[in-house]
């Protein structure tokens, strides 16, 4: 059929077709006048594109001053250390790896002493976040904790900016509570937001005000929970027939955000796939989200080298996306490769936020790498940050 051959002709012209296909096409061209005509047209176009491209790419400007400055900044503090610890420790430590304490904060963290088992973190990266990402003024909604209302930890919200809806702006406050170790739901492909860490460490999870509305599958068919509202989405879990999860909010595209069992955000389901129970008229509606062109505008560690026992804060800011995913991988400095599987993944994180980690004293890996990613129309925009862990001495 001509269609098959005609689809291959542009690639043949571009010389990107594999040799076997190219030979087969040439055989066909020899006996197909129509396809030869088609070939001639593509050759004409290709030549024009080439000439156009050569013209457009002429006169490459020098690297801009701000790029040069960034290069200088990083050169001052990037040093790759290779641990000289005995390798035997590594397996043991890998098994025992604990990235302790994940604490979701959205602005200034200055004193966390009131919440037990949650370490203090530095405000460096958060302050930088605010200055590096100029946006409309941010307001902080206070958090209610088990120790009372805290005004130094809160939800970022601006009335006008595109990320308003990404951080539950319609909710007056969320509660942050220490969680005791529990078995996470086996049905979650990825951990819910801020899950319990291995080794029984206490983590913190976002808890939301009670919602009187719950959702479950309409029939016996399980319903997939997605991490974002996008069309091409990462699956973050499954809602089975017997499951009922609380509904946090409704998107403009009629999807429902569900709370994870035990706190945090499970993800989104299509409203038409689920049956609702309870008082669902009060479910807040997310304002029209500007999710067409997600961009990571900030993703940074507040330091690039730590010693075990020290803390590090990872902060990020993504425009145009409702949720992001952060993963921590063990990083092999010599091979310059992260492991294939992450040590820990957090899904359903808000578009602006930070996580603080304390590197366990018994961690003897050489480095960790953190990734920030999301999924939109098949694009897995992903940035990485490497954290080198040096020996304490």
């Amino acid at each position: 059929m001509h269609k098959h051959w005609q689809e291959e002709i542009p690639f043949y012209v571009a010389e990107s077709l594999d040799s076997a296909s190219a030979r087969a096409l040439e055989d066909h061209l020899a006996q197909c006048k129509h396809c030869r005509q088609y070939l001639a047209e593509w050759q004409l176009i290709a030549e024009a594109v080439h000439m156009q491209g050569s013209e457009w790419s002429r006169g490459l400007p020098p690297l801009a001053q701000h790029v040069r400055e960034t290069i200088r900044e990083r050169q001052e503090d990037i040093i790759v250390h290779i641990s000289d610890r005995p390798r035997g420790w590594r397996l043991l430590a890998a098994a025992a790896f604990v990235v302790i304490i994940a604490l979701l904060v959205f602005l200034i963290l200055s004193d966390f002493g009131e919440v037990p088992d949650v370490p203090s973190t530095e405000e460096t990266s958060i302050a930088r976040l605010a200055t590096r990402v100029p946006q409309t003024p941010l307001s902080i909604l206070p958090l209610e904790t088990s120790q009372g209302v805290r005004d130094d930890v809160g939800i970022l919200s601006t009335p006008t900016s595109s990320f308003t809806s990404t951080v539950l702006p319609t909710r007056p406050a969320a509660t942050i509570q220490p969680r005791q170790p529990t078995q996470s739901s086996p049905e979650m492909f990825l951990s819910p937001v801020l899950p319990i860490m291995p080794q029984g460490e206490v983590a913190a999870a976002l808890m939301f005000p009670d919602s009187a509305c719950t959702a479950g599958p309409r029939g016996m068919e399980p319903v997939i929970i997605y991490s974002t509202v996008q069309e091409s989405r990462l699956e973050s879990g499954i809602l089975y027939a017997q499951d009922r999860l609380r509904v946090l909010r409704r998107s403009a595209s009629d999807q429902l955000q569900l709370e994870a069992p035990g706190g945090g955000v499970a993800g989104w389901v299509d409203a038409e796939d689920v049956a609702l129970d309870g008082d669902c008229d009060q479910v807040p509606t997310a304002s029209a989200t500007d999710v067409s062109n997600p961009v990571i505008s900030h993703f940074e560690l507040d330091r690039v080298i730590v010693q075990p026992g020290e803390s590090v804060t990872l902060s990020w800011h993504m425009n145009g996306e409702t949720a992001v995913q952060v993963s921590a991988y063990r990083y092999d400095v010599q091979q310059e490769q992260p492991d294939d599987q992450p040590l820990q993944t957090y899904v359903g994180l808000p578009a602006i936020g930070s996580l603080s980690f304390v590197i366990p004293m018994d961690f003897d890996g050489e480095a960790l790498v953190f990734s920030l990613s999301f999924d939109k129309e098949g694009n897995d925009l992903r940035l990485w940050q490497i954290l080198t862990v040096t020996s304490a001495d």
């Binding site: 689809e7 542009p10 690639f11 012209v13 571009a14 010389e15 990107s16 005509q37 001639a40 047209e41 593509w42 004409l44 176009i45 290709a46 030549e47 024009a48 594109v49 080439h50 000439m51 156009q52 491209g53 050569s54 457009w56 790419s57 002429r58 490459l60 400007p61 690297l63 801009a64 701000h66 790029v67 960034t70 290069i71 200088r72 990083r74 050169q75 990037i78 040093i79 790759v80 067409s292 062109n293 961009v295 425009n319 145009g320 310059e336 490769q337 992260p338 790498v369 990734s371 939109k376 129309e377 098949g378 694009n379 925009l381 992903r382 940035l383 990485w384 490497i386």
Partner: protein, 190 residues
């Protein structure tokens, strides 16, 4: 850390150059820029249709390379990787820029399915006409033509950069060609 002589970077293979950038070697970024800057600039121009904006986004792309070189895992060609970065950066810039280019495609679509081989206009200065017509194409048609013919990406690589299926790449190529045909016909008629 051993730093190479500035000129030595120019001879490094892509993978070694990326590793040097990941280690914070500024001269490696200069070589990378010289090697890939023109291709990225051309792609951004095709995507954005504006030289100044393309140059601005190009700087963002180089910053992203500098910051994210350690993320390159070698499971794609460097060219594909950097063009993917470029496209992601361009999308945001493009959104702020003229929407007229998209509207133009709708206009074209309303013109019906007139067909006629390109040879009908071969009497004209074909090359020049085609180039002018390319500039009038919608951004997503210009960019797919650029990726395939200028950057010589395979269908799979172009699909990866654009975040679409290979089938979509093929159909965009077909549509781009049809649009060019119509543009050339309308030029001939006028």
């Amino acid at each position: 850390m051993t730093h190479l002589d500035r000129h030595a970077y120019a001879d490094l293979p892509d993978s070694a150059l990326i590793k040097a950038i990941a280690k914070g070697e500024a001269a490696a970024l200069d070589s990378f820029y010289a090697r890939y800057g023109p291709a990225v600039l051309n792609f951004l121009f095709a995507r954005l249709g504006n030289r100044q904006q393309a140059e601005e986004v190009l700087q963002d792309v180089m910053l992203a390379v500098w910051r994210g070189a350690s993320a390159f895992r070698g499971d794609s060609r460097v060219l594909t990787w950097i063009l993917t970065i470029a496209r992601n950066r361009a999308i945001n810039a493009y959104r702020k820029y003229s929407p007229n280019v998209i509207a133009f495609e709708d206009e074209l679509d309303m013109q019906g399915d007139d067909t006629g081989p390109l040879e009908r206009v071969e009497r004209l200065n074909l090359q020049s006409s085609v180039r002018e017509a390319i500039e009038l194409l919608p951004a997503h048609h210009r960019e797919v033509l650029t990726l395939i013919f200028f950057n010589q990406l395979s269908g799979e690589e172009a699909a990866s950069v654009l975040g679409v299926s290979v089938g979509t790449v093929k159909s965009r190529l077909f549509r781009a060609k049809e649009n060019l045909r119509r543009l050339l016909q309308s030029e001939e008629l006028s």
